[in-house]
């Protein structure tokens, strides 16, 4: 069964460093998402991406964040200069496109620890 994959599973970085979290969505999907979950808190929407551009983003997704689909398979989230409060589990999701709703499939997540 096709699935969304994410690498790495755990990333440890120093405050101020850049990190890139990688996701491989399901191959025929066209809508991509990043969510994050700070420990003990709710899962929060960061950004959605369609047709090679951001379609929606939340207040969390400030200038420190960027997303890219560098090739036909990967979808990346970059944090330019990490802060302690960026420590969280980051989930990638994807779905097929269309005006009617269809299910978002989630990856297993990347745990980011900022020291």
């Amino acid at each position: 069964e096709p699935e969304v994959t994410q690498t790495p599973s755990h990333q440890v970085t120093q405050m101020g460093q850049e990190v890139i979290l990688r996701c491989v969505p399901i191959s025929n999907h066209l809508y991509f998402y990043w969510y994050r979950q700070i420990l003990g808190q709710k899962v929060e929407f960061l950004v959605s991406f369609y047709n090679n551009e951001i379609s929606e983003k939340s207040e969390i997704f400030d200038d420190q964040f960027s997303v890219e689909r560098p090739d036909g398979s990967n979808f990346t989230l970059k944090i330019r200069s990490t802060k302690l409060e960026d420590s969280a589990m980051y989930f990638c999701a994807s779905r097929t496109s269309g005006s009617l709703y269809n299910e978002q499939f989630f990856g297993p997540g990347t745990r980011l620890t900022v020291l």
């Binding site: 969510y35 899962v43 369609y50 929606e56 978002q104 297993p108």
Partner: protein, 115 residues
């Protein structure tokens, strides 16, 4: 904007007993509703969804949920739980109009099934 409240952060229940996990939402527009399950070290898996039609929806693993528009609730139930149901459960909503269908999640309920 939408918000989701899951009143119970933890629910312990004995094996083979029934369980109800509560979810209430707030929205100024019509929404679709979802329950996701997260097993340890795994991503979010869709349990069930309400898009339209019958207010009682059945999902995987014997779970069901009932949409109550007047009470803005979407409680999850299972008549007899198993040890394998131990996981964290998230209620989520998205506006039902066309858009990116970003999900707004509740804080989650940890279900612990006691042998």
């Amino acid at each position: 904007a939408q918000s989701v409240t899951q009143l119970d952060s933890q629910v312990p229940v004995f094996e083979e007993a029934p369980v109800e996990l509560r979810c209430n939402y707030s929205s100024s527009v019509s929404v679709y509703l979802f329950w996701y399950v997260q097993y340890p070290n795994q991503g979010l898996q869709l349990l069930l969804k309400y898009l339209s039609g019958s207010t009682l929806v059945k999902g995987i693993n014997g779970f069901e949920a009932e949409f109550n528009k007047s009470q803005t609730s979407f409680h999850l139930r299972k008549p007899s739980v198993h040890i394998s149901d131990t996981a964290e459960y998230f209620c989520a909503v998205t506006p039902s109009g066309a858009g990116s269908y970003q999900l707004t999640f509740g804080k989650g309920t940890k279900l612990s099934v006691i042998p």
